[in-house]
Subunit: 247 residues, 2 copies
DNA sequence: GGACGGCAAATTGGATACATTATGGCTATT
DNA sequence: AATAGCCATAATGTATCCAATTTGCCGTCC
């Protein structure tokens, strides 16, 4: 689908981002411009624009005259990204509370929390419910970030999602207790924000994200292959939101 | 000077970054590719690569088929960036303390603190000492960030420096009391890190950065013109460190 | 037998030429 | 006279071509 107001280079960047995050281009692998241009059906010029963008985004490594390589992420990298995401999202809570969340935001959070409640009401984790859960989770976090009204904050959090596995779209959907507790955090965060208790919301959010990171890392350490398989099979598309709206 | 292992595009990106941060290209102004290419003495291809990079870096706004504009930064933007820098640098303290700063880092921090002490020993702010002070300040902050050993953290903090006025290279060098207190923070941060008191160091750093931001914003509100003049005249070069080392 | 040096193929970087899209001014019509 | 639509111009986006750098291979020399 060709979107008006988008260039071929923009499209290539989006496609490549998805390919990398989906693991189609393996980490460390060198990116051949000619091959890739042919594969994508475009010339090298827009492709190179896209590559430069992705390199600045941190998905590719670049070395002059030696081209681009897919950045490889170690478990250490994943940990370090969670260390950042946790403080950024906590700060989002603080700022949102300080600004005072408008009713629309509070209502939306409540509605999302209820959606989560419904999904968990059965007492088990239905695989079929995962996409809905993921949508709920992503929206919950994004709603708070947007409520903070800090463009750079949103940008940085988006960038942390460029690292495979770190996205809040990645969910370990196999332990009811853990998911339940995680959703309890959502309850408490929403309530704290309603009462403008920024520090409290921030503390919960920090732990909420940090724990998710710890858990993921533990799984990856225990059995990297199984965890990866599980995550890839349960990972949803990662539609990096376009920066420009059509007028 | 032509550095081996750097492409023309890289050089153009660096040059443009400096031009924008120095205010040579005014905010909101449209960037004419032909003109600029001629001005810089290169063709549009590497220029466009550089533009794409700077846009991803957040210094330029891009709209398909309408080209690039210099991003304009409001006082609100500056505030929002300080809100991020403060938590990121605080987190750097936490992580550095948790990892345990090696002696080399502690020694360096001590040495930097002493340099600051010497500059302030006279009891007045000598304009001639500003460059040394700035170097000291930048190194102090960078040393801690590097001690945290979290690549993304460093990257993000670097990016906050892409916003005019937010850099730790920008210093309000006109109030001895304030500078003295700020340096006292450095003392306490270094000491806390020596004792592996991460939370304490983080708290001080957070306030250290937040207050600098508040102060700057206050000045900009009071008398934008005067503050800008003062800052530009006292601002040093902003050498964005190259990401790759020659082997 | 190993290592250094040079040559050739492949790949990246940059310049130029072409296509496509916005933009401003002009005319014609209401 | 004002506005809508069209055309010309200018600027951006893409493709192709050429140059420069890397890289792997082979031969020679130590």
């Amino acid at each position: 689908m060709i979107v008006k107001g988008q260039t071929v280079a923009d499209g290539a960047a989006t496609t490549l981002r998805e390919m990398i995050l989906a693991g189609q281009l393996r980490p460390g692998e060198r990116v051949h411009q000619d091959q890739l241009a042919e594969l994508l059906g475009l010339s090298r010029t827009p492709l190179r624009t896209a590559l430069a963008t992705l390199a600045t985004d941190g998905l590719l490594d670049y070395e002059a005259n030696r081209g681009y390589r897919v950045r490889s992420f170690s478990v250490d990298t994943i940990r370090s990204v969670f260390e950042i995401r946790s403080v950024l999202e906590a700060q989002a809570c603080r700022i949102a509370a300080r600004l005072g969340c408008p009713d629309s935001v509070l209502a939306r959070l409540d509605s999302l929390v209820r959606i989560g409640d419904d999904i968990l009401a059965s007492g088990t984790l239905d695989p079929a419910a995962l996409p809905d859960w993921r949508r709920m989770n992503v929206e919950f976090h994004e709603t708070i970030i947007q409520a903070a009204n800090n463009p750079l904050l949103g940008e940085f959090v988006s960038r942390t999602h460029n690292v495979p596995m770190v996205s809040d779209r990645v969910i370990l959907w196999d332990d009811y207790e853990i998911i339940h507790r995680s959703h309890d955090d959502h309850h408490r965060i929403a309530r704290a924000l309603r009462h403008s208790e920024g520090e409290r919301a921030a503390a919960i959010m920090n732990e909420h994200v940090s724990f998710a990171g710890d858990l993921l890392i533990e799984r990856l350490r225990e059995d990297p292959e199984a965890a990866l398989q599980h995550l890839i099979s349960t990972a949803g598309a990662v539609p990096n939101k376009p920066k420009k709206e059509k007028k």
